[in-house]
Symmetry: C2
Subunit: 338 residues, 2 copies
């Protein structure tokens, strides 16, 4: 029979090294307030290594009341490289600061209970605001920071996070500078009217107003090819002078390009299209997509920095106060579609 190889504990190491458990803890947890002679230290380190000692996280967390886990909750594991890159770089940056980023993918929003029943995160990052009741749960469980994605909710959810303004600004400015007068926003069904979307539309409208142009025409694009064609045709019927489209993502933009071609419209002559994300495909479609390229590595690092600062400052969670704002560096990539 296999038999569970019972765990090597600090006491085992102490016995092997001929010291007390306390001394082992001082050495292995890197406590600097207690000086330990090099020879004792080495004896302990050797013994720990030989025995294959692995500290018990739960015991440590129980004792210290601290956790090094940061959980990012996502409703779906998005398929955009933007999200991927951002997560990668945030993960690396947090790792450098001694934290571990773990991503939870679940339903609309994971209930606080689900998360708390499994890990005891130091911080929780989310794309949507949490209702006040869930915030309270987190606080009660010792979670020190919860950062929903954007905008304050009526019931006291957290405020701002990633700043989407510049993305929308670049899109609309470019279209206007190319002489477009009637701008539309092609939204994604996936995002509904999430704060992200509202923020971008607000930015666009602000720019349009400054130029004395009509407010943006909003349209949600489906994902089925035939449906996209229909949607664009109807959009053009409803807004005949529509001549510039800001797409929520490159995926949406590519769908619009496809539909335009099928409808016999010329891009960019009849209509200009600007995407957002700069997907690998976007350079290969015909016409090549003009789009907004995010610096996702920088974004991820900005997020990590903001989170770590908050945690280090030991601020407590308070709905609607001390909002975190993370800048999202972007640049315009001009190709052929606008």
């Amino acid at each position: 029979m296999a038999g569970v190889p019972s765990r090597v504990t600090g006491a085992d190491v102490a016995r092997a090294a001929g010291v007390s458990q306390a001394t082992v803890s001082y050495v292995l947890s890197g406590n600097t307030r207690q000086s330990i002679p090099a020879t004792t230290r080495k004896r302990i380190l050797d013994a720990a290594d030989r025995l294959g000692y692995v500290p018990h996280v739960s015991a440590r967390a129980l004792r210290t009341g601290q956790s090094s886990v940061v959980v990012l909750t996502l409703p779906v594991m998005s398929d955009s490289p933007t999200m991927s890159d951002m997560i990668e770089s945030a993960s690396a940056a947090l790792g450098r600061q001694g934290f571990t980023l773990l991503t939870y993918v679940g339903g609309e929003r994971p209930s606080a209970a689900t998360l708390l029943a499994s890990v005891a995160p130091a911080a929780v990052l989310a794309l949507r605001p949490f209702p006040a009741t869930e915030l309270a749960r987190f606080r009660g469980a010792g979670v020190r920071l919860v950062v929903p994605y954007a905008e304050t909710t009526r019931d006291g959810g957290w405020a701002d996070w990633i700043d989407w303004g510049p993305t929308a600004q670049l899109q609309v400015d470019h279209l206007i500078s190319r002489g477009r007068r009637r701008i539309g926003f092609a939204a994604s069904a996936e995002f509904g009217d999430a704060p992200v979307v509202r923020r971008r539309i607000a930015t666009i409208n602000h720019a349009l107003e400054e130029h004395g142009l009509e407010p943006v025409s909003l349209r949600t694009m489906p994902s089925d090819p035939a449906a996209i064609i229909r949607a664009l045709r109807e959009w053009r019927e409803d807004v005949p002078d529509l001549d510039g489209i800001c797409a929520h993502t490159d995926s949406i933009a590519i769908g619009v390009l496809y539909a335009a071609r099928e409808l016999g419209l010329s891009v960019p002559d009849d209509i200009g299209v600007v995407g957002a994300d700069d997907l690998p495909f976007s350079a290969m479609v015909v016409p090549a997509l003009t789009t907004v390229r995010p610096n996702n590595l920088a974004l991820g690092e900005n997020i990590a920095t903001a989170v770590v600062n908050y945690l280090r400052e030991d601020r407590t969670l308070e709905a609607g106060r001390n909002p975190i704002t993370v800048s999202r560096p972007v640049s315009l990539v001009v190709r052929q579609s606008a």
Copy 2:
């Protein structure tokens, strides 16, 4: 001053409900071996609710030695919907069984230490085999299952996992049935010669051999548009009769389609291309991509089931033994590219 709102513990609930801490534990942890009268139970539940009690996972884990966390480690947060869908459905299925799936994105492979220093997972899933030393670490930390992605490594890593055979089989069978005689495999630089890749090539070669055809011609495609064109031109020069390409992913396939168009080649007349993944874009490119569509929801559920069964059976980790094999249901989607 804010002041850390000290945590509500089981003792607090016991005091409020006028019972002992033990009784609280029986009720709140759903222990069935101990019967508790409905009135006492209700009193405890009410008190817990009123006080906002959240059980302390670390304390529980320390006491029970069990964890409900399953960690999936990924070298990069892949941007394919295949991976996304799979993770989503595995997460949901594991959730139904009382486990929480958390994804860790890190470097090549996270060192076991990183993971273990933060969470105490019940199981770890990975895309690449772990070296024996890391496996030992996991075992020492009480991790009950570690499942690398594919094939046994020389130093005793784990064996098989997801079965990629059928995907390759559908690709090559389709090309052969359409009269292609000289088949190539367009690989992705991202995957190098990962087990996944070797497995697929082996399957293709097996099929080719059965039909008395030459072994597959392997080529790694770059991601830069100009480089892709160059790569395809050179490939055609080296293998002039190349008339069918199995691509590792739809992304790769779309790159090939793009290069073929730029080189004045007709797809499918001069060369047939079959992708794998069935990305949303794949139906919209010209010519529309013939591809292999995975049933990712089923895949995710299969993974969850396999993991839970292992955990429930309480098997211990043993390199190279008791391999998990998860089937990956696929179907062929015939469009225009082959």
